[in-house]
Symmetry: C2
Subunit: 396 residues, 2 copies
């Protein structure tokens, strides 16, 4: 029995993968109506912040894994001390809960991240900006400061919550010390990070098992808007093979150094000076939803194989290109009629609905299309996604 | 809410498809441990032979469909009279329950079947054999009887149960009147059918919706042993395009003439004289399991779309070839260690386990491999299937 703490769409799609593998699967759901709880026979309703609930859930499981990184670190250690196979382990997961510690470790390992610094006050942020000249060449070539005059201060500065952020939450782009002061006024622990002039965003997805077997998916391009992933293109078009290999090796190395079991998604900035690590996630990841149809082994099956210490599946592409677009809710909660239009307009689009209440901007599903013409695929994926938000203000 | 009567592997894989579609799904299971009941949140335990159980199950469903054809015909009509959307309908399903009526209808429609006749006694069977000269050319060319002497009697004769047979059960190949007499002694209603000298077996899988939209999958070759499907190759290698088109058109026509809603699988004999219809099934079918990975739309998703009257999905191939092999249980009930070997030996093989107790010869799962070299794919699929029966007597 594999148990997943959390019952969102990641757990829902993991449940689907468990059916084919023949692996008994259960979720710890906050509510009986949660996305995964709707479709799984093994549901325990409980609170991931309660050690009692976690322990009673774990009692019926051979391994426990997670569809989010919010289980308190102390509870993770307590589960391990109680003999529960927690995968990924408390030590690895800790780095997804403390982004400052993650950056310190990666830096110690010689892995390039955006420049960053802990900050407590607006003066700290201003100091960071003053000491962060734009030394990195942008996508259009070198942009080094001229040595004859002092470098300009590097605004904007990004402030990030040390823990708990996702989908653009917990990230603030500040144009001035006053903007930074306002963010700091929220009382959330943050650190400062340079606003990287990246040419695009990439993601590396790898799996690692307790046996230390590793598998790396092709590197993908992710397209964000307002901090939310909107589109993923697999493989990243035009990515130099040596850069793709470097990104895969980087992710496998991080998985190994942090002793990750299960999936590791590494969000990357591609810059003129190379790859910088942006974020880590140790679970199935939005940048890997395309693998359900687009790879021989879906990320959900792969995560189960990895945490159960089964031989990993092939991460090979099942088509020249796969494009995934997230379906975001619009103003109209009744998407059913428009859903039928999506199906009718493109019989080969693969729709995944998460069974979630529609709210404007909420991820309620995704679509994937496969083929060989990446421009046509992006058009099809975007059309399906925009059908569902029809009439809703959106930059698409 | 879509409800499926029956909770075997077909319902299990339909449940998996329902998750992505976002369609609430429930099963009427004979036992709580049934294959589909293990993995679905919506399970009602009940008896498909009880009209009360069927009515209470149907009360919560927008449509009711089936993973087998054993619901009594009178109950199907009663459900329809009670206003339940039964898909396929009682009239269409009736032809899967009365194979003699099915052959009579197909014959009236001018659709070629093997020669057949109702029989009650061994003398009837002998008379059928005497009047069924081998007029059909075999795979190696014409084998017409010489006109100068009386034709030999056409033994063996196949006796088939009028209803209820599957996986070789309900089919007897009789070499003599004595053999026929023994079968007739069982007291099962049977009819006689010529033993067709086919070159191979094919299957045509189509979907039809209440809107009358149709979709046809590529024609596949099926390989049987002891009446059990062992292997499916999609598309059927070397099949003449005009014969493939004829088989698709034939299946779509049968679906239309019989007013089928949902899937229709037509099992065919390929002979030197053309195609003969062997059996019909109005549900997801073993010959279509390859579609989960091998087609843009799996047969399970397609069945749900069809019975819910949603636009049908693309039946296009996702790879040049897909080969599926059924996993049959062997003497050793503990397949888990061997399962790991299958995964390790071929990371790209897709394993589907049904959560069934292992019994020798029982279908406990299937594997699918995709690629462009059909010989290599058949080898890989067979190797995976035989790993799991390792040590068990088998002709492989």
């Amino acid at each position: 029995m594999a148990g997943m703490v959390g019952a969102g769409q990641l757990a829902r799609m993991t449940a689907q993968a468990a059916i084919a593998l023949g692996v008994p699967f259960r979720v710890l759901a906050g509510e009986a109506g949660d996305s995964a709880a709707q479709v799984t026979s093994g549901v325990q309703v409980g609170d991931y912040r309660s050690l009692d609930d976690l322990l009673s859930f774990a009692a019926g499981c051979d391994v426990v894994t997670f569809d989010h990184e919010h289980v308190p670190a102390g509870h993770l250690r307590a589960l391990e001390q109680a003999g529960v196979k927690v995968r990924p382990g408390a030590s690895a997961l800790g780095y997804t809960q403390d982004k400052l510690a993650m950056r310190d470790l990666l830096t110690a390992l010689g892995i390039a991240c955006p420049r960053y610094a802990p900050v407590k006050t607006a003066a700290d942020v201003a100091g960071f900006a003053a000491n962060s000249p734009r030394a990195l060449p942008g996508p259009d070539g070198p942009a080094s400061p001229r040595p004859a005059e002092p470098p300009p201060e590097a605004w904007p500065v990004v402030l990030k919550a040390v823990s708990g952020g996702y989908d653009g939450k917990g990230v603030w782009v500040c144009d001035s010390p006053a903007g930074a002061a306002e963010v700091l006024g929220h009382g959330v622990a943050v650190f400062a990070e340079e606003h990287v002039p990246f040419s695009r965003e990439l993601a590396a997805l790898v799996a690692r098992s307790p046996h230390k077997q590793g598998a790396a998916y092709p590197i993908v391009q992710t397209v964000q808007r307002d901090g939310i992933c909107r589109e993923v293109i697999a493989p990243a078009p035009g990515l130099a093979p040596e850069l793709a290999a470097e990104a895969q090796a980087l992710a496998l190395r991080i998985a190994s150094e942090l002793d990750v079991t299960g999936l590791l998604a590494v969000e990357l900035f591609e810059t003129g000076a190379g790859l910088l690590v942006n974020e880590l996630a140790m679970r199935p990841h939005n940048s890997g939803h395309w693998t359900i149809e687009g790879a021989r082994t879906s990320q959900f099956e792969q995560h189960l194989r990895a945490v159960l210490d089964l031989p990993l599946g092939s991460p090979e592409l099942a088509a020249p290109y796969a494009v995934m677009a997230n379906l975001l809710g619009g103003d109209d909660p009744d998407v059913y009629d428009r859903y039928i239009h999506v199906m009718a307009a493109d019989p080969a689009v693969k729709v995944h609905f998460y069974g979630k209440q529609v709210r404007n901007g909420r991820k309620i599903g995704h679509v994937t299309v496969l083929g060989d013409d990446v421009t046509a695929l992006r058009d099809r994926a975007r059309r399906a996604a925009s059908y569902l938000r029809w009439g809703t203000e959106d930059g698409d």
